[in-house]
């Protein structure tokens, strides 16, 4: 773990911190390194303090580090707030003279003035490029050629060539004049092709590949990045992204589009999901293959909209009135989120039920290096969809497995009647017959056991480490990365990642956890998975490691927490 380098860019929102860290992350990705970024934004557009971390290593990294090696503060406040986190051997790149041995001075004003003069501009026009000055300084300290940085800047400003030129002139000026006191060499690595993506992008690509034709959404952090990404590519891949008047319309439109015969989805976060819940129950009742991408953020209520939490597990598991089957999948990283997205549509159509893909802010805003997706094994399965002429059609026909052939409007002989009231095989609602009710409930609820029976273990759980270990971590979703990183320092700890939360894979979980010392790691207050585990399997966890301060887990705090369990029953992580 000593092969890594951690850069932090901090400053007021809107001062280019995002651009700086993204450019640096891209550069390091192209150098062949593994990259993991963490974005801590204030819920505002401009002004408030925000910071981005970029961790770089030749080794696999799956979380961010508490360490900061190079700090780029874009205002004085950032120096005060973050200098404590900076390593003793670290560097602060700053224009302000600091009484700190780690201080690396770059005369920002002089650099920008020189470039301004060269281009016949005023200094005030170039002031926004302070971040480029610092970025170029950091890149020089790491020993990477300036041309590589300039290439990325040119790409970033592809449509604004004059800005590219100015920024690149700033890079030239810094490289020509800045003499760092120390260098931060990284171990050499061999280049392999990697994408630098977050889960809004991996899910977006998954949707395109899965054949999504209709996506609805109402703007909400952190989910709308995904819809906005889809909007940027819908022209080329020919599908509709519909921004609706509210989340109620979003889910209802996705449901209607699904029942019209296209693959349809909606993406939201907690507050929006709350508005969708009535329709979720409707989707269960009407056996509609709709997929909801649920990016959790810190609640309750509006909570901390730009901060991270896994607080909605139990809610998403049970949301909706009445009993109906649902499938809920929680990808643990940006690779899983791609494949799970495609599989979520397959499951939705095969079993004709709503599927929730549970993601979170950490995944939505962390860019990580991911190998290009292997598409050779990805299948598209539309289940019992009928698109050709048919006869004697009944939308809710009783079948051996409870799944009815699914016609859609436009199919000759296949008129469909869909209803949220209890209905007969033809979808009509004028039966409140007690016997029909039992048959229909059995038909729908049978899907739960069907899903459990059909899906293989790898769709339900992932197990890491030596199965003989006594201590086993249990967790779900995005904590996976920090857990795997921390586990590298413990050969006596294994990890069970629960990938499918509903139906709960009772047998697979018992297989790995029975008789073990179970340690729950979650990013919520109560340790919700531990409660679910007890309800579903009777297994009781020995310790709960939780974090609920709105920030993802840095791997070091887990390394430390693992020492404290199972002696301590509850460990609260607090690193920010």
């Amino acid at each position: 773990m000593n092969n890594d380098l951690n850069l932090m860019v901090a400053g007021p929102q809107g001062s280019g911190i995002n651009f700086t860290s993204d450019t640096f992350a891209k550069l390091m990705t192209r150098e062949g390194y593994n990259v993991f970024t963490n974005a801590e934004l204030f819920s505002t557009i401009k002004g408030e303090h925000s910071y981005f971390r970029v961790r770089v290593s030749k080794d696999i990294i799956r979380s961010y580090s508490e360490r900061v090696d190079i700090l780029i503060p874009l205002d004085a406040k950032s120096i005060i707030l973050h200098r404590e986190q900076l390593q003793k051997e670290g560097a602060i790149i700053s224009e302000d003279k600091l009484n700190d041995p780690r201080f690396e001075a770059i005369p920002y004003r002089e650099v920008l003035q020189n470039v301004a003069t060269k281009f016949g501009k005023s200094l005030s026009e170039l002031n926004v490029m302070k971040n480029t000055v610092a970025l170029a300084g950091a890149v020089k300290m790491i020993g990477i050629e300036e041309d590589k940085l300039k290439k990325i800047i040119s790409e970033n400003f592809a449509t604004r060539k004059n800005l590219a030129e100015l920024n690149n002139a700033v890079v030239d000026e810094v490289f020509a004049t800045f003499e760092p006191k120390r260098m931060f060499g990284l171990p050499k690595t061999t280049y392999t092709k990697k994408m630098l993506i977050n889960s809004t992008q991996s899910v977006g690509m998954g949707k395109v590949y899965a054949g999504l034709k209709f996506q609805s959404y109402y703007p909400i952090t952190p989910a709308s990045d995904e819809s906005n990404y889809l909007e940027s590519i819908m022209e080329k891949y020919n599908f509709v992204v519909e921004q609706t008047e509210d989340e109620i319309a979003a889910i209802n439109m996705a449901i209607a589009a699904a029942n019209t015969g296209v693959r349809a989805a909606t993406s939201t976060s907690g507050p929006g999901f709350s508005l969708m819940v009535e329709a979720l129950s409707y989707a269960g009742m009407t056996e509609t293959p709709v997929v909801i991408f649920y990016y959790q953020r810190a609640g309750p209520s509006t909570g901390m909209p730009t901060r991270h939490e896994q607080g909605d597990l139990k809610y998403a598991l049970t949301a909706g009135h009445g009993e109906f089957p649902r499938v809920m999948i929680a990808p643990g990283d940006n690779t899983e989120s791609f494949y799970d997205t495609i599989e979520s549509f397959n499951i939705a159509e095969r079993y004709q039920l709503p599927v929730i893909v549970l993601l979170d802010k950490a995944m939505a805003m962390s860019n990580t290096t991911v190998e290009p997706f292997d598409l050779s094994k990805v299948r598209i399965d539309r289940g019992k969809l009928i698109l050709e002429e048919t006869s004697n059609y009944l939308r809710y026909r009783f079948t051996d497995d409870g799944i009815s052939p699914r016609s859609v409007p436009g199919v000759k002989g296949g008129l469909v009647t869909i209803a949220g009231d209890e209905h007969d095989e033809d979808g009509h609602i004028f039966t409140e017959d007690a016997g029909n009710r039992i048959k229909m409930m059995n038909k729908r609820m049978n899907k739960v056991s069907l899903v459990l029976k059909d899906l293989d273990e790898s769709s339900k759980v992932n197990f890491y480490g030596n199965p003989k270990n006594k201590k086993v971590i249990v967790a779900w979703g995005s904590t996976k990365g920090a857990i795997l990183d921390a586990m590298e320092q413990y050969s006596d700890i294994s990890f069970l990642q629960v990938r499918m939360l509903e139906p709960f894979p009772v047998d697979d979980v018992i297989k790995y956890l029975k008789g073990k010392t179970i340690i729950d790691v979650e990013q919520n207050y109560s340790g919700q998975l531990a409660d679910v585990l007890r309800e579903k399997t009777g297994l009781v966890v020995d310790s709960r490691i939780v974090k609920f301060n709105g920030r993802p887990i840095a791997y070091e705090e887990l390394v430390d927490a693992f020492k404290r369990v199972p002696n301590e029953k509850r460990v609260v992580l607090e690193y920010a």
């Binding site: 990697k194 993506i197 395109v208 609706t244 589009a257 019209t260 598409l375 008129l415 469909v416």
Partner: protein
């Protein structure tokens, strides 16, 4: 083989559970007659309903029936049309469903102008829950089903439809099947979002807005010389302001007929500006896979992140 030639071809054999004499029967009959006249294949029609007496109508018409949630008929209907523009989409809703719980969708729908038809069964009460005041019940009225007089002002569906951007706005009457059928046909043929506010007496709970109330009051604005057609933006601006003032009339005389018929860009045409292939390839029938393999090439997308 079902015939679409006779009205029976568009009726299901489902037993109708509206109260005997309900104004909804007239709407059902007019719709069946309209579909029969237009000869749209049954399988190409989608009829959505919300929740309420009115919204059970999808079960009685032999077309694709989406019986949705309370207030969501219009939201779902628009998505059906967007997902498959080759379908003929008709949405039914009550006044409580469409203008109370679903009013947000009503306003937003006007911004899109999806090519579909919206039928509002307007009786002033929530019938299925025993006659509470609905958003269209006039201020101060106290039908027998209400515990107290109605102290809320009524929403004006015609005015709201015009204000929201509906491009075809009409009022008709469930006891004037001929007018209602003709208006439905015009609404269905209209390219864009068409609404018909249908005066539909609830014989069980609303003893004020009855057939006896409407018969002498309703008059046809088009018979009195109003031409609702606007073919360009200038005409639209001119017509819509007159239509608004007509919509405010309510009392001894109640206007019916088409208030506005404005041909402008439909949502489908607007989508085509963003997605050139939209509507040229049918999203439903065009395959997304071949032998279980996706037909989409995302190499370029993946490379954009390298």
């Amino acid at each position: 083989m079902l015939s679409t030639e006779k009205p029976a071809g568009y009726k299901t054999d489902v037993e109708i559970d509206w109260c005997p004499g309900c104004g909804d029967f007239g709407i059902l009959n007019a719709l069946v007659l309209a579909l029969q006249e237009l000869k749209i294949p049954n399988e190409n029609v989608v009829l959505t309903g919300g929740i309420g007496c009115s919204s059970k109508i999808p079960h009685y018409v032999r077309v694709n029936a989406f019986h949705t949630l309370h207030g969501r008929s219009l939201a779902q209907a628009q998505a059906v049309k967007i997902a498959n523009p080759s379908l003929e989409v008709i949405s039914a809703a009550g006044d409580g469903d469409g203008l109370g719980i679903g009013s947000g969708h009503f306003v937003a729908a006007g911004r899109r102008n999806v090519d579909m038809t919206y039928l509002i069964f307007d009786n002033g009460v929530y019938g299925l829950t025993k006659g509470q005041a609905s958003p269209t019940l006039p201020y101060g009225e106290n039908p027998k089903s209400l515990e107290t007089e109605n102290i809320k002002f009524a929403v004006n569906p015609i005015f709201l439809g015009l204000a929201s951007g509906f491009t075809f706005v009409a009022r008709s009457y469930s006891y004037n099947i001929k007018h209602l059928k003709e208006t439905m046909i015009r609404a269905i043929k209209h390219k864009g979002l068409a609404m018909i506010d249908i005066m539909q007496p609830c014989i069980t709970y609303n003893n004020i807005n009855t057939k006896e109330f409407y018969d002498p009051r309703l008059y046809d604005i088009e018979k009195e010389g109003w031409n609702p057609v606007a073919t360009n933006q200038d005409e639209y601006k001119e017509k819509v302001s007159v239509a608004v003032s007509k919509s405010l009339e309510w009392g001894e005389r109640i206007p019916m007929g088409v208030f506005l018929d404005y041909q402008t860009e439909t949502y489908e045409q607007k989508l085509q500006k963003l997605i050139p292939q939209y509507g040229k390839v049918n999203y439903v029938t065009d395959p997304i896979e071949s032998n279980g393999k996706s037909i989409f090439d995302i190499t370029e997308l993946m490379d954009s992140f390298v």
